[in-house]
Symmetry: D2
């Protein structure tokens, strides 16, 4: 297939943004923390980065939002860079078949989370990075990674969101303590969960997120951040586990590795072709952005970028 | 990436076959039916088909083996052709996070299997095809599909294997009856399971299987069998669910849509590039061919065919 | 405590029957087989037998109803008489914490049901009795046991109910086949489930059922049927497992060993004091007779017969 | 049955103590906290209290041990006295069918523990008592209750054991936090679990424990502590849930309401007849005292005290 040019792609983005602007069933924003529940659900943005360096966008692509669980992709990249394959002694690589915040599989697997993208798995990853450091060091490293990847220094943590998450973190603390009971936590749960809540509160726009995801798309100079072999593996995990218990459906409909966040963002990767970010605050029943998933499906259909042929 | 030529690929296959011939830890052949347990575990074969029509092979690539659950890919293609998306009212599209023969999720999901590749899901697919027909008609259609896809009429069902499976089919009958209790079975369980046991007993060689899988690789004339949109979706299901509770690991290590069978075969698809079949009877702990999975990993590494970049 | 005389007890029964006659929230009769769903829900009966031979009754105590799962108590007594403690290699003695028809614990326990009163456990018990016999022999033995225990030959199986159950037995067949897959079924599932559906279709009135339960109350000549040691153990199982996932609640409210049936009957035992049967077709959320359980609670309160002090 | 006299019973106790002294398979003491793991497993004690005020004993009946989960019976009595039936909005009354420290059912029941004797249930009970108080107040109230019930002021908390438990309390904290996530915790988890670890560290001898249990046996002046109706209900819960996932087996073998602790103690109640305490540190596979359970079975057999006839 011929590579699509920016001139081919911009109308597609515009059409998607136009269609999403008039959608009536937009899902429901997450309400478990007040700061997310009061976001205007009428917003929609999309941005994509191409191998040649172009950045295309449409809709509210410059509006910052809380990336939430999309941060798990970046902490995983950092953890694999720091620990290599030894990370896999602490967390598995299989879809869980359960909700993102289920504790059941922890009991069935002796405190080993199923994969790095369900909450307990991401907590284990953050805990692994934190070992020997202070939370502020880890958060500084994450911001440094994101700013370098996005080539944009204007990426920050929303402290109010972080503190609000921390005030509603009982279930995540439960998971951390359960892992501690099985020897699978290296730091006090308060430190690990404190760090985790701050990492989820990073604010980025679609443009910033798409730029930050370029290292996963294998663009020419991407390997300076993460090796191609590791990128492939992160993409594989995104495809099989990135949308929790709707990962199979995202693979079926969109056919791209992707990671969703409860803030309404989705990062998807078309290897060699594009890094894509969408955002719309309303969620579907599985906790993923409703319009975001539809936009990705539309885009994959229009571009033929599915990894599956 | 430049397409690899047959001259590039044949040495890779030879090297893989050579390495596998000397492997000492070869896993254990399935023993739940006697006919599978008495297969010589020292065998290994690999074959691949390219868009230009070439077929490469190494090792025992011409030896027929029982394709078992790999048949689920073909019955799914037939069922989608016959019923279209209405099939999804009877079976889900998500990884189960459980073993291939677990009945737990059936109870948790009111008799709806998680995906078409776990046993209850494949039974539902076969049941859907069988509706209004006789078992022999369905099996004739399956053989016709396989022979057409492989362009080889010498593909048959091993009756002894089929009857032996039927004699050990209590767990599959249990799943069919459990679905019947939820209104998710259209035929008497004896007919559906009888058909299912015969479909699993199809014998094919690696060469035949790789040829039969070409329609999934999107080769020039593949669309005469199944449309490109449907092919993408079948590939997505193979990637997320094709290796049961080791699907995530296969995606991580190999990065290709694949489907394993308890007979030791694996069919994998490199979209646009190759249809690949491997076979070695010994299984790993998850019930997938041990050397087969290693061979696929080696091949993906050597060719750079991972869909993930 | 002084033993209560018939003159003390009759007014209590009358008061209970009177209260139940005017109850407005009577639960819902089971509907999974048509024959049970069309029973008039306004009926209520109660009967009790005393050590001195007296039989007291009130309400519709002479109306026959389908004893359904109460039959499990009698087949357990027969199986223990025939096999002794070797029965416990096939079925456990613990509450399941799950619904009566859950198949989950079978998978978690390698085909061994949790106790003899959940459906799979009762099926295993019937299967054990059936071994080496024909279904009609087993059913004849059950009727003989019931008629002897009740000293009443007018106890029969309702063939229409039995056939209707058989036509809706998919879930029970699933359980039998699942046990067969684990080597925990000795007969073809069709024979075992056929027998099981007929045993559940025994018709008895409250008077007949209370009389049949006397051997469990340890009355003077009870030991001719079942030894005191075995009676204690059956009572223990009734108390911990007799009301499925509401057994704890029945023990808490009533304090007597009891066994419910989906036909609306309950048999309860006050050791040394009384054998009690109640019947009202409407069921509560746990599948036990709503008014029946309330009547038992009232009776236990009025008599002080709780085994717990 | 005639009441057994002290002269009848003492030889039975002596015989049991003698038999247990020579037992070779004594189980394994709990090792999850160091203080319990270093107890000499050769010890065995038994004591019982009769309605007439007599206290019989044999073996190491005067040696203090850690009562651990037996404390749950007393906190339940205190909580029911303080809150009445409103306690049941926070905890269920059904056997769980799972291990004492399983978190699975919390997820399945929206943070409501199955019963007051599994760990999360006991934590909810302690949390309910703690509300509005300080931990030291609750512990003082528990000691006051125990000392009054036992008529013995020499009952204390072993601070070393309490602190050691607190240092290994991750799993209990996980449960408390999980309940907090569902709004089923009223105090900070650190306070609740701190209190809970201290309550489990109460030290008592068999004689003290049997004396403290008299209020559950319904002896003449027992009602000054807890009403007869409430006593019956606590006994019912002990019988159905007191030995975790071996409760059914204890009911089957012993036939008395009982509560075990991981320190090797068991308190059992023969309503109207005796309050009984045994202790031996080695545990069986279900986490209950191995010789303790055997001694109770022996005693129930010799006395005919089973509540089941």
């Amino acid at each position: 297939m011929e590579a699509l040019s920016p001139a081919d792609l911009q109308p597609i983005l515009d059409e998607i943004a136009h269609a999403m602007a008039s959608a009536t069933d937009r899902g429901e924003p997450a309400t478990y923390i007040p700061e997310l529940g009061c976001i205007n659900p009428d917003q929609f943005g999309i941005a994509l980065c191409l191998p040649g360096g172009q950045v295309l966008q449409a809709g509210d692509a410059a509006t910052p939002f809380s990336i939430q669980s999309i941060s798990k992709v970046f902490t995983l990249a950092i953890a694999l860079g720091r620990l290599g394959d030894s990370l896999w002694s602490r967390v598995g690589r299989e879809p869980s078949g359960l909700a993102f915040n289920s504790i059941v599989s922890l009991e069935q697997n002796n405190g080993i989370p199923r994969n790095p993208f369900v909450n307990p798995g991401a907590i284990a990853v953050t805990d692994a990075i934190l070992h020997g450091l202070q939370p502020r060091d880890v958060l500084a490293e994450l911001l440094r990674f994101l700013r370098t990847a996005a080539e944009d220094n204007d990426i920050h943590i929303d402290k109010d969101v972080a503190l609000s998450e921390l005030a509603h973190a009982h279930r995540n603390i439960a998971m951390a303590e359960f892992m501690a009971a099985h020897g699978n936590l290296q730091n006090p749960s308060a430190l690990t969960i404190g760090t985790y809540c701050h990492q989820c509160a990073v604010e980025m726009s679609c443009v910033q997120l798409a730029r930050a995801g370029r290292f996963l798309a294998g663009f020419p100079d991407a390997a300076r951040l993460v090796s191609p072999a590791r990128v492939r593996r992160i993409n594989a995990l995104m495809l099989t586990c990135g949308h929790y218990d709707a990962s199979g459906d995202f693979a079926y409909r969109v056919g791209l590795p992707g990671k969703s966040g409860v803030g309404g963002g989705i990062l998807a990767i078309a290897p060699g072709r594009a890094s894509i970010a969408v955002w719309s605050p309303g969620l579907n029943a599985q906790g993923n952005s409703k319009l975001g998933a539809e936009a990705m499906e539309h885009l994959a259909h229009a571009t033929g970028w599915s990894v599956f042929g």
